[in-house]
């Protein structure tokens, strides 16, 4: 793993890409190699500002990242974007089209974009994204963004591993307020109503004020930070510079108020636990003596012959060798 580690530390794009593939691999020997690699790189990680971004499909996440990415790069920083794309449940394959929407970033030497298929396990994605983030830091990126489609529990995971969590919204009143889970709004450190351009501008402003009101009823993530609601047009580039200022302000806030370090420590703990749970599940699947029992129990649950909780307990007890 030494050559790969050296490649990464010298800022080599190809090495970073190969390392990410390794981290994402489902093979256990790859897993070990990845652990080895990460152990070597750990001293060189932790230096970036980590931003999570989510929003419903069609809200303009990629266009937004492209616009704010240009601002970040213009200020002399290097940006890595990790985009998690949903995979088709049916085939397992996916179409990763993000770069088609980040044309200028894909051409910029100071940017790196890596779309990742979500695969079938959501927990796995979070673990891999976290490790990928570390790899990007070791390669020398100053800002790392993790983008997810706002469809479910992956948001919580992403919020759990970043320093700041952005929620992107479309202009449009209460319908969306209902549609987006309250839980996701609670996670956000900054809410942004995109597409504030042309005929939609007024609506976007109104939407922003609706959210401001709604936020008053929610409990903020940090007692001393009330998440602002901003508007912008990623398409036209308006409001983007202001947003970067808000983001920087938040960064100062977390760093000055002793929020940053404890949050990161907590994240390392979460990372450990997600590795444990993933490892356990994998071990369970791989245990040959369990295979029969698993498929039988699954069938029993499916046919309604066995309550799910009983089934789960029975499997766990057998696996762990606990006799009743």
């Amino acid at each position: 793993m030494e050559p790969l580690a050296n490649g990464i530390l010298s800022g080599n794009r190809r090495a970073l890409s190969k390392a990410i593939t390794l981290v994402e691999s489902t093979r256990s020997d790859h897993r070990q190699q990845a652990d080895d690699l990460l152990a070597r790189l750990m001293p060189h990680t932790g230096n970036s500002f980590r931003i999570g971004i989510t929003g419903s499909p069609g809200v303009g996440k990629s266009t937004f990242i492209e616009a704010i990415g240009e601002t970040i790069i213009a200020r002399g920083q290097k940006l890595a974007v990790l985009a998690i794309d949903p995979s088709s449940a049916r085939s397992g394959g996916s179409i990763l089209g993000d770069k088609t929407r980040m044309e200028s970033l894909t051409q910029n030497e100071r940017a790196y974009i890596r779309p990742t298929p979500a695969g079938k396990t959501l927990g796995g994605v979070a673990r891999r994204s976290f490790e990928t983030m570390l790899l990007c830091e070791a390669t020398g990126f100053d800002v790392v963004m993790v983008e997810t489609v706002g469809v479910g529990q992956s948001e919580t995971r992403v919020a759990d591993m970043t320093d700041m969590f952005l929620l992107l919204l479309s202009p449009g009143g209460g319908d969306e307020l209902q549609g987006i889970k309250r839980g996701i709004i609670e996670l956000a450190d900054l809410l942004i109503v995109n597409k504030a351009d042309g005929t939609q501008e007024a609506l976007a402003k109104k939407t922003a004020s609706d959210y401001r009101n709604a936020l008053k009823l929610l409990r903020p993530r940090h007692a001393t930070w009330s998440p602002p609601v901003a508007t912008c047009s990623a398409l036209e580039g308006t409001g983007i510079a202001d947003l970067w200022n808000s983001i920087s302000k938040y960064r100062q806030f977390v760093e000055n108020n002793d929020v940053h370090d404890p949050q990161r420590r907590k994240q390392m703990r979460t990372w450990m636990w997600s590795q444990i749970s993933e490892g356990l599940i994998e071990a369970l699947y791989k245990e040959k003596t369990m295979a029969d029992l698993i498929s039988k129990t699954e069938e029993n649950v499916y046919e309604g012959r066995l309550p799910a909780s009983t089934a789960a307990n029975r499997l766990l007890q057998t696996f762990l060798g606990i006799e009743k």
Partner: protein, 717 residues
């Protein structure tokens, strides 16, 4: 027959007889569902015309269903208008003159992709595109060479141009004026249909709103100064090429037309001042009666909708006149002489549908740009129809046919519903911004591709009756690099000899005009006269309008759904799942389109199909350079790059990509090519390390299996 001689057999009698012939199978077994979601029956009778009135109408009168002119081909046959452009203005000029002498009545210019996208030949992004898919035009000097010794006051000129319409139209006007032809004498057609570019062809430059403004500026200018010129050709052709059904093509095209009319009226024009000069352009594929009915339904719908929405006084404002082209996607690379028959049949459908002018494709177009020989056969196809068959003797010869009239009615009804959907979204500009038409067309395309791959739709020589006699046909090849050098030389010369101050002043005026509300064609004409180039005029406008970036939502699941339960398909999916377990991830492929070729139907259908099989597919942005594509392949760490090439750019771009891979020490990434690549170029590509070439008509599941093998082998070496 045992029936009573005096009793006329009834429909029930026929049903009984038919059921008997079917030996007990239900008659509904003979019903067929088309891609348009129309069910055809084995027999149509007068009963099917009940409640339909339009077939009682007469040609030359509203709603023009039976033809825009009273005498149609009986009076004068359709115009034979072959679309062509050969690399350089000089070669194209020679070709046009020869064709005019050989009986062609109008000429139709194909530009290269660099010109379409508003780049001069010296621009670094267009190295592989110069002169590849048509003629390269950088300035009015090129235009003058293009039309040298062609009487522009007599010959009508059709120009397929949408993105760089302003500098190209200005170049045409100035070239004519400088050769002594007055502007009002010019006749012909400019394609100028930007909305469909955002849906399917992607040769746009500016965002939708300023693009539409340019369209209406041109409509306004021609309405005042060029009474014989059609300022726009509202085109469905490219939608059909991208996989649209007849109903989609019809509906989206008419909806585009309505949007242009609305824009022009909003900019202060009177409907009757410009609507009579709007023209249309449809593609004609192999579904013979469907295509005939489509053209008839188009005239009906346009007439009705123009009346409903804008109540023009001049009946010509409601009269749909159209050009047609036989289908390019229906042509096959294997057994290519079959394409001559296909084109003939499609040409007949165009004519029976009542087109005003026609382009017939050359049989080798699935392999390369037409050669002189294939272009000759294509043109003669029309001459034979006009002069040997007697088809021209009678107006709308299928009028009153139970089937054709019922089908016309059904297409019109379905298209009207889709138009309504677009109008409810707020018109075509809005619908395009929401990506609705593009997604619908892609779904249709993926569905059709899957049915072809399964053999449910037969294509002779491709998925049935395969025939390979090993004979290769001679195709045209273009020496890109040489054309590029010559263009750059002329461009440099112009820039060195012109009055730079005057040129800059004209460009500044153009910029100010774009920021305000001036007519941009007028200002572009002045800039062109001052020898500003196509690229300079475009760059000036770009400063104000910006360059458009496509939204690119992709669909999934459509292709796979056709294979629901297919054993072979499931087997490959299992194989891919096994690959994922063995190697730790799914096979990952980057699909790239390099150069200015925006035809992405193939690339997108393939993306969907492979994702449905279980691949992880990355899609590159349109118009990538080889270096950008390689960088993306490296960043995403793909196993394989799939290059889709349809516009003859492969000769420079593929080697450039292979070189770049080498330079980046990433030659372990496999490269395959797909699209229109002449067989004689295959060896050359294989020699530089391309792993495989998949032409049109490739069976996707079969190719997927081969690709998995290649990736596995590559990993072990």
């Amino acid at each position: 027959m045992t029936e009573n001689k005096n009793k006329k057999p009834s429909l029930t009698d026929w049903q009984q007889l038919a059921t008997k012939e079917l030996r007990g199978k239900p008659l509904s077994d003979l019903d067929r569902a088309t891609y348009e979601d129309i069910t055809t029956k084995p027999l149509y009778t007068s009963q099917d015309l009940e409640g339909i009135e339009h077939h009682q109408s007469l040609p030359g009168f509203e709603p023009f269903l039976r033809g825009p002119r009273a005498t149609m081909y009986a009076g004068r046959p359709w115009t034979i208008r072959q679309y062509a452009g050969f690399s350089t203005a000089k070669d194209s000029n020679a070709f046009y003159k020869k064709n005019l002498a050989a009986g062609q009545q109008g000429l139709s210019v194909a530009f290269d992709l660099a010109t379409h996208r508003g780049y001069d030949s010296d621009h670094p992004r267009v190295i592989g595109d110069i002169g590849a898919a048509g003629v390269a035009i950088d300035s009015v000097e090129d235009m003058k060479i293009l039309f040298k010794d062609i009487p522009l006051d007599k010959v009508s000129v059709s120009m397929t141009m949408n993105g760089a319409v302003l500098p190209v139209m200005a170049g045409f006007i100035v070239a004519a004026q400088e050769s002594g032809v007055a502007i009002e004498q010019l006749n012909g057609t400019l394609q100028n249909d930007i909305l469909k570019e955002f849906m399917v062809r992607n040769t746009y430059i500016f965002p939708p709103a300023p693009s539409i403004r340019i369209v209406s500026d041109i409509i306004g200018f021609t309405a005042q100064n060029m009474p014989k010129f059609n300022p726009i050709s509202i085109s469905g052709y490219h939608m059909q090429e991208a996989g649209a059904t007849a109903v989609q093509e019809l509906a989206f095209t008419i909806a585009d037309g309505l949007e242009y009319v609305r824009t022009a009226i909003d900019r202060g024009m009177q409907v009757d001042d410009f609507a009579p000069r709007l023209s249309f352009f449809f593609g004609i594929g192999m579904d013979f009666f469907m295509e005939i009915a489509k053209l008839r339904a188009a005239r009906l719908l346009w007439s009705q909708l123009m009346e409903e929405k804008f109540s023009p006084k001049d009946p010509r404002s409601k009269m749909l006149r159209t050009h047609c082209q036989t289908s390019g996607v229906s042509l096959t690379a294997s057994d290519p002489y079959n394409n001559i028959m296909r084109t003939t049949i499609e040409a007949m459908a165009s004519v029976l549908g009542g087109t005003q002018s026609l382009h017939t494709n050359a049989f080798d177009e699935a392999l390369a740009l037409p050669s002189e020989f294939s272009a000759h056969i294509a043109r003669n196809t029309q001459i034979v129809l006009q002069e040997e068959t007697g088809i021209t003797r009678v107006v709308d010869p299928l009028g009153g046919s139970y089937y054709v009239e019922a089908l016309t009615n059904e297409i019109a009804t379905k298209a009207r519903a889709l138009i309504l959907e677009v109008e409810e979204l707020g018109g075509m500009t809005k619908a395009v911004q929401e990506d609705m038409p593009k997604r619908r067309i892609e779904e249709a395309a993926a569905l059709r591709q899957a049915r072809i791959d399964r053999g449910e739709e037969v294509i002779v020589g491709v998925n049935k009756y395969l025939h390979d006699d090993g004979n290769e046909i001679d195709v045209l090849s273009v020496d890109n690099a040489q054309v590029r050098e010559a263009q750059i030389e002329r461009l440099t010369q112009i820039k060195n000899t012109r009055d730079n101050k005057a040129c800059q002043k004209a460009l500044n005026a153009l910029k100010t005009g774009a920021e305000n509300d001036a007519n941009l064609l007028e200002l572009s004409i002045e800039a062109t006269r001052a020898r500003a180039s196509v690229g300079e005029i475009t760059a000036t406008l770009e400063q104000v309008f910006g360059r458009y970036k496509a939204i690119n939502s992709t669909i999934s699941g459509v292709y796979g759904s056709v294979y629901e339960g297919d054993e072979e398909f499931e087997k490959i999916k299992v194989e891919i799942d096994r690959f994922a377990v063995e190697t730790g991830r799914r096979p990952r492929m980057l699909i790239v389109k390099m150069g200015q070729d925006g035809h992405d139907r193939g690339a997108r259908v393939i993306a969907t199909a492979y994702a449905d099989l279980g691949f992880d597919i990355d899609i590159g942005p349109l118009f990538q350079t080889p270096a950008e594509a390689v960088r993306q392949a490296i960043e995403n760490d793909v196993h394989m790059i799939g290059i889709s090439s349809l516009a003859a750019g492969h000769k420079m771009l593929v080697p450039a990509l292979m070189d770049e891979l080498k330079q980046q020490e990433a030659s372990d990434i496999l490269v395959i090519c797909g699209g229109v690549i002449p067989p004689k170029d295959h060896q050359q590509l294989l020699d530089i390390g391309v792993a495989a070439i998949y032409g049109p008509g490739t069976n996707i599941p079969k190719a997927a299996r081969e690709m998995i093998q290649m990736i596995k082998q590559n990993a072990t070496t």
